[in-house]
């Protein structure tokens, strides 16, 4: 089985965001990680390969330097990686670039995280599946195989939907699907020798039909801290305040 895994490089979750100006985030000294949801996708791909054999290929769109981050994916056990180098990484551009390159591949499954923790967009899986004209099961917490079908548990609002699709298909995974492994020393060493193909994108048309600016959240003014050594007293103050704030 050939499995493609879409991986996005994101800021580490501990990162403090600093703005250079209202249009640009300062990325000096930032630590980068694989988007945590994509880690679940890599793990799931490895498990499928362990069961059925095959190949796991990482696909990513991003800056040239994200090669370093992608190596971490190879260290987990993926076979190789392809990095489409692009300055623009909005959902529309990324989906288009991925589609252009993936149409040239033979594959059974594309796996990805359902959302990226940086842009909070959750659009690429849907857009890419439309462009490739393959089914997408979104926000998946379990994958099974039965005959030639893929059976997914998709998270609904208070429900679990059981969805059946046939390969080639795309599955965007949700936390809960697995517990990602840690890289072994052997795999880290091997990853250094694994291949990362660089694909330079020519697609740089700037459509700019919308205007995006950034703003840091207002710093919250300090809250009221209540000493809880006398629970009754503390609770009464709290309830009084919540009533005044009209949330009770």
């Amino acid at each position: 089985m050939k499995i493609l895994v879409l991986v996005k490089e994101t800021f580490d979750t501990e990162t403090k965001i600093v703005l250079e100006n209202s249009k640009k985030i300062n990325n000096e000294g930032i630590k980068y990680i694989i988007n945590p949801y994509d880690e679940f996708a890599i793990e799931e791909a490895l498990r499928i390969r362990e069961k059925f054999g095959g190949e796991v290929v990482i696909y990513s769109v991003g800056r040239r330097e994200s090669e370093v981050t992608l190596r971490n994916g190879l260290a987990l056990g993926a076979d190789k990686a392809k990095l489409i180098v692009s300055e623009k990484i909005d959902s529309i551009t990324v989906s288009k670039l991925l589609a252009e390159n993936i149409t040239k591949e033979e594959f059974e499954i594309i796996l990805s995280g359902w959302i990226a923790i940086d842009d909070n967009n959750a659009q690429v899986p849907a857009r890419l599946s439309q462009l490739l004209d393959i089914p997408l099961v979104n926000v998946v917490t379990k994958i099974d195989f039965s005959d030639d079908k893929i059976i997914c548990h998709r998270e609904g609002d208070n429900t679990v939907e059981i969805i059946k699709v046939s390969p080639p298909a795309m599955i965007a995974v949700q936390r809960g699907i697995n517990e990602p492994r840690y890289p072994t020393v052997k795999n880290i060493l091997q990853a250094k020798k694994k291949q990362i193909d660089l694909i330079i994108s020519e697609n740089n048309e700037d459509i700019n039909r919308i205007n995006i600016t950034y703003q840091l959240p207002e710093v919250k003014k300090a809250g009221l801290i209540i000493d809880g050594s006398k629970p009754e007293k503390a609770v009464n103050i709290l309830i009084q305040k919540l009533k005044e704030a009209k949330v009770l």
Binding site: N120, G223, L224
Partner: protein
């Protein structure tokens, strides 16, 4: 005339809260503008009182797809028919709640029309004909403001982003459309499992009581369930509590869990790690109960009690019971 299409969801014959919040907001705005509000309701059966509810939010047109094929969400079935509605009406904006359906359907339709989509919006400013959408990115550490220029854009709105609006009755034009014949059977919904207890949906809850590592065991969550029952709240958890196996993944709040925006968020025994704050920092009022005065949760809390949750929470539950009895 410019049109705005709102695709609503309903349950037990009532609009879902997020749908109602979107309609309320749009109707407040459309009262002062020339824009028309179109509302799309789908389902196997559409209750009569839904029409009244939607009409009370100033809808100009209600389009229904009342059909068995629309009983359960299936994008392969939904897209052709809804795309048709969009083509025929050419709205400027298409709104969804940021729900399991909205999150999935909206980007698919956006791609279908080669349009922009603005995900997880928490505020909208409207000036003349310009819309400016605010959405949290980087786990709420930054806000993105997106200004559109009038072309078709798809928008999902985070539940509880808009407050109460005033009803504005209209007599909408109501008509039903038939689903388009399906040619694509590549996506099959073979079953839907409902969660045993009709637990309150975290993302739509107005009040959330959340517990972390400080709860010390799965059993102790009874304390929070009690408090939640009195408040009519949902129970959430930190990742540590989920990882310990005390709560299901579905109740995790944070960067790799649910993003919530309740009126009131009560964090008990949660330290307030950045990844947790990512999921709840846009809550209207935050209460923290923690015995460590240095816990970072106090930095975002509007009201914090420094103390032992095992002493504070039962008292809080009892006192609230008294209030709600009166």
């Amino acid at each position: 005339m410019d049109k705005i299409l709102v695709i609503v969801e309903h349950k037990n014959g009532l609009l879902k809260k997020v749908s109602q919040q979107i309609l309320g907001f749009i109707s407040d705005f459309c009262r002062q503008s020339e824009k028309k509000i179109l509302v799309l309701i789908y389902g196997e059966k559409i209750a009569e009182r839904l029409f009244e509810e939607v009409a009370s939010w100033g809808a100009d047109e209600i389009i229904t797809i009342e059909n068995q094929c629309f009983a359960n969400y299936n994008p392969a079935i939904f897209i052709p028919t809804i795309a048709d509605v969009i083509k025929k009406n050419s709205p400027q904006l298409v709104f969804f709640g940021n729900t399991a359906v909205g999150r999935d359907l909206s980007p698919r339709l956006a791609q279908y029309f080669n349009s922009y989509m603005i995900s997880d919006v928490i505020d909208i400013k409207i000036e003349k004909d310009k819309f400016c959408f605010t959405r949290p990115v980087y786990g709420g550490k930054l806000f993105e403001e997106v200004e559109t220029n009038g072309e078709l854009v798809f928008v999902t709105v985070r539940p509880n982003s808009f407050g109460n609006s005033v009803n504005y009755h209209k007599n909408p034009h109501i008509y039903n459309i038939e689903p388009k014949a399906i040619t694509n059977f590549s996506y099959m919904v073979s079953d839907i499992l409902r969660k045993e207890s009709e637990e309150k949906s975290l993302s739509e809850a107005e009040i959330i009581v959340s517990g972390g590592k400080g709860l010390k065991s799965a059993e102790n969550f009874v304390l929070l369930e009690e408090l939640a029952r009195v408040l009519g709240a949902a129970v959430g958890a930190s990742r540590s509590a989920v990882d310990a196996g005390w709560r299901p993944y579905s109740s995790q709040v944070g960067q790799t869990g649910k993003t919530v925006k309740p009126k009131l968020y009560i964090a008990c025994g949660i330290s307030g790690a950045m990844q947790h704050l990512a999921g709840m920092s846009t809550s209207q009022v935050i209460v923290a109960i923690n015995k460590d005065p240095e816990a970072p949760i106090f930095k975002v809390a509007d009201y914090g009690i420094i103390g032992d949750l095992f002493e504070i929470v039962p008292v809080l539950t009892e006192e609230l019971k008294k209030i709600f009895k009166d």
